[in-house]
Point group: C2
Chain length 413, copies 2
């Protein structure tokens, strides 16, 4: 007997018929002798409807574009509350004792950053007692409670994070993330039909994959899984018995290829400041205002100074933040003293990820050569111990990903 | 400056446009210098949708007809949560500081009878402090928290009760119930076009009106208003400046007519047990099993024994309980020993209500004479200090109500 956590996303609970299917998967685990906590998202479409209402309520009343974030959370959290109650009803009607747990009831303690709160603790002893007494715990995902008693939400995709955090809080043996794909792939199968499902992936690799554009799991959920060493599986709601990918420790992976997967992100924009003075403090003159404006600057490259007095500086951010980044720079133009500013939102980031990279020299050069052979110009490079990312023109994304997938011998036979 | 409570039902908050109208009414009170707690129902249609989901979830999974009541409450309470958040967003966007309060946050303490919980206390000191600090409190109606931390709901129409209980808990100067009619009428205007709106009605009269079929306020809300002497007004969301009816103490009503209003209910069924033994203990042999089955027996009449050995006994219950009442009786047929059982669901109850009745003898006889003149047979009579109810064939309801309305001089000029 083991305590396991299962998580089902919006498409898996889109209507009562699908909720019944989810209940049957939960029932199967109970009949195997497992204790179960099951985390659910809102029914597909419900969150969008609720979000639209909050925007309508804020926008039309005045010119304000954003609803009060604390009240946004109150409205949006209702979506998961409904699903949790419905699944508990379904389970009880099937003869499986179950009760719903809302974020504030567990409690899932979060920061006070409403709309994208961070889970800070899950002291789930009451819920654990209920589970040990033979009751399935049905947890409303995506929500928590901020200091005090206000409802908080974790931001889009937050139910993955809820699931892993609940698994950690309960000391669960495993966290199964049921989704609409049957695992983590070497890259996006829509771009590379020869992409292969990975049986296992190291937490560190998955974290990079998620951060760098793979959409299968939310970054924060992988962080928590890694931090608490929660064995986490990604598997399909609709074909739960085939495939699946296990997130695990590096040591549990026998065959370590140099590159495990290839991620890409089109949500990139590039800003180049031409001929800024090459003097101490220039970086902080630029990135200080950007940080103050809440811009997440990603890649940064500063050219070698050619004339000894000025240099070009390039950085990237998400496309959604581009306008705000430009405004922040232009507001501080006097301090920065750049000669020209070039923006480009038609760029994309392609990354190779693999813990095997540490042991295999020459992995990056294979990447650069492969792209060069396809005539793809690399605009910016960023590396860490287990990944190499390059910024390229967006139009080359598919070509680059396919070429790299072959070059690192990831193609399925 | 006064602390007032306002309550808006489902049709008043049916969409964002109407929520904005509600916000404008709240704003008007704030601009008059009042402190405001506003209680809202779910958007019209939402509760029905949620209830249908709970029934689907329970019914199809198995043959059980009823969803788990605690989980039903979790699902259904989401409706008011959404409205409360949306109204708070709207108010904030209009520049009125506001926050939502859910049942468990206030808390609205209720019994553990999920689905139709009873409010037991509203220790609203946190909310009162927030209101005194200049914030409008937007309260999710219809919901509370049962002992422990489970969400409870008050049953249909419960938001009226929430509003009055919140007004009592806050020590509010007034509770304004905004609805789709502009007040309490002498009788149902759909039946009697000459029905008149009452400027004032005594709590006791309103309680009888609500209990006896008038649908404008929920009975429990009137009980709480009466118990805590909360001056409660019924007025129209759409024409808030005209009309309205104030619930108040008897002493505050100057002109006391013998009859204030006429109520009727079609939700009545009659059971007659023919020739039951006329012996001590027979009533408990009949009504014990009915009480055990949770049947609310309303009117009871026992005929004088003609043969000295047997008698006929008639009682009424709601139509929804008729089948269960018959089953309870038939299960105990051996103990009761009736000769025959006659049921009739085509009956209705018509009642005259008025505190003036105490001072005016002959009020009941006017009722009986009036009905007799119209050829309407009275099947059962039940009286209290301030009302007389009669059971008649359902087909005569409109005729009876109109005749009585004229007989007691209630017709508008």
């Amino acid at each position: 007997m083991a305590l396991i956590t299962m998580k089902f996303g919006g498409t898996s609970v889109a209507d009562i018929e699908r909720i019944r299917h989810v209940a049957s998967l939960v029932k199967r685990e109970v009949e195997r002798g497992n204790q179960v906590a099951v985390v659910v998202s809102a029914m597909a479409g419900e969150t969008n409807k609720l979000v639209a209402w909050t925007n309508d309520a804020a926008r039309n009343a005045n010119n304000l574009a954003l609803p009060d974030q604390r009240e946004y959370d109150v409205v949006v959290a209702a979506g998961e509350q409904v699903t949790a109650g419905l699944l508990a009803i379904t389970l009880n009607a099937m003869g499986i004792k179950a009760r719903s747990w809302l974020g504030w009831q567990i409690p899932i303690q979060t920061s006070a950053v409403h709309g994208s709160a961070r889970i800070e603790g899950v002291p789930a002893s009451d819920m654990k007692t209920a589970i040990e007494n033979g009751e399935v715990a049905v947890v409303a995902g995506f929500q928590g409670v901020a200091p005090g008693t206000r409802i908080s939400t974790l931001g889009r995709g937050g139910s993955d994070t809820s699931a892993v955090a609940v698994a950690a809080g309960l000391g669960a043996a495993r966290c199964d993330i049921y989704t609409d794909v049957d695992g983590v792939y070497t890259t996006d199968p829509r771009i590379v039909p020869k992409a292969r499902r990975l049986d296992k992936i190291a937490y560190e690799e998955m974290l990079e994959m998620a951060s760098l554009g793979a959409k299968v799991l939310q970054t924060r959920s992988v962080e928590i899984a890694m931090l608490h060493r929660v064995p986490t599986r990604v598997l399909s709601t609709f074909t739960p018995d085939v495939g699946g990918t296990l997130l695990c420790d590096e040591e549990d992976i026998v065959e370590k290829k140099p590159v495990t997967g290839i991620a890409y992100s089109r949500d990139e924009a590039k800003i180049t400041l031409v001929r800024v003075p090459d003097r101490p403090g220039i970086a902080s003159a630029i990135f200080g205002p950007l940080a103050d404006a809440g811009i997440n600057v990603d890649m940064i490259v500063q050219n070698v100074s050619e004339d000894g007095a000025t240099t070009d500086l390039t950085f990237t951010c998400t496309r959604g933040e581009l306008a705000r980044a430009l405004a922040a720079i232009q507001t501080h133009a006097k301090d920065i003293k750049y000669q020209d500013l070039i923006q480009d939102a038609a760029v994309a980031k392609v990354s190779i990820i693999g813990i095997g990279m540490r042991a295999h020299p020459g992995v990056a050069s294979t990447m650069f050569r492969t792209l060069s052979e396809k005539g793809i110009n690399i605009q910016v490079i960023s590396t860490s111990e287990i990944k190499v990312s390059v910024l390229i023109a967006e139009e080359y994304v598919e070509l680059a990903v396919r070429a790299l997938h072959s070059a690192y011998e990831l193609d399925a036979a």
